[in-house]
């Protein structure tokens, strides 16, 4: 979760998308709670939120994979150095 937050804060575009999705969903929810039609806004907000979530998850996945090969390389190198 901490790592997810770190990546979200670094990736300005995803952060903007998350914020937009959240605001749009909240407007839709408050419209619905007052008896207005907010279903469209809720759907749009949820779509933006889920896309931003997928994008952040992909970034998280990429950083994990970027770290692991280097780790395995050092493991391979260490016995030789010794």
């Amino acid at each position: 979760m901490k790592r997810f937050m770190h990546i979200a804060l670094q990736d300005k575009q995803s952060l903007f998308s998350l914020f937009t999705g959240l605001v749009v969903t909240l407007i839709g929810a408050s419209a619905m709670s007052q008896g207005h039609n907010g279903a469209g806004l809720m759907m749009v907000g949820a779509s933006i939120l889920s896309l931003a979530g997928f994008s952040l998850a992909a970034s998280l996945h990429r950083t994990k994979h970027a770290v692991s090969p280097t780790g395995s390389m050092t493991k391979l190198l260490k016995p030789k150095e010794a």
Binding site: Q13, F16, V44, L51
Partner: protein
Amino acid sequence: MQMDITIAFFILGALATLVKANIQFPKALYQGLTLFLLIAIGLKGGVALAEHGSAKLLPQSGLVILLGLVIPLIAFPILRFIGQLNREDSASIAAHYGSVSIGTYAVAVAFLETQNIAYEAYFPLFVVLLEVPAIAVGIALAKKTGDKVKWRVLLHEVFCNQSMLLLVGALLIGYWGADQIGSIKPLFFDLFRGVLALFLLEMGMVAASRIKDLKQMGNFMLAFGVAMPLIGGLLGCMLGIQMGLSSGGATLLAVLGGSASYIAVPAAMRVAIPNANHSLSITYSLAITFPFNVLVGIPTYALFTHWLTN
């Protein structure tokens, strides 16, 4: 709130494209429908100006121009620093959002009439006024020292483009010939919603055909295309209430603030900022903001007005 019947045609057009139905919509017919809508809106505004025009329109017009200057100034830093777009693209897209969409305006008028919400009928005057300031701001934002703008060609594009010329022309004709309007009323006023339905059918097909561009651009594009109309809409709504407009008028000003141009500004931007990616701007305004405004945005702006006035 029931969906307007004209909007159902927009959904039909989008669905037809998504299921790859072979609907041939002649380009000339689409152009003809656009001309019709521009003339009808201009005429309605001109007649209303002749009947209700007063000196209070001058300060209102000044504030509307201010709105057109402020919106691109909000859009530009978001695109440049969050969206990481280059200066030219950011300025061009910002100009699109500062200007107005005549199609969205027509849908908003139909929506208000269906809901029996009264509005100031001279609104086409504000549509005309909002076309130009954003183009000027867009050019100023894109310009680097040493850049040369072909002002003559640009001014021709800004003031003699199809939407500006027909809208202003019809506004003046409506103002001048308000007492004779009965002779052309059956065509331009009574058929308005039917023509709008056909126009939206084509727009639905155009918007759906650009969905593949969205897949390539990522989630920022979708978020910006939704966030910016809401920001512009909220500003327009607040300004409309401050100006003392009716709730329908404030909603219409919100629609103007929240819409993005796809006719007048693209033509001007091609001349003013030739290095910008113009298909990117069109994708933002046509594939995201126009469908959002038509399907969700317009009732939301009416809701903003309701919340702010109560």
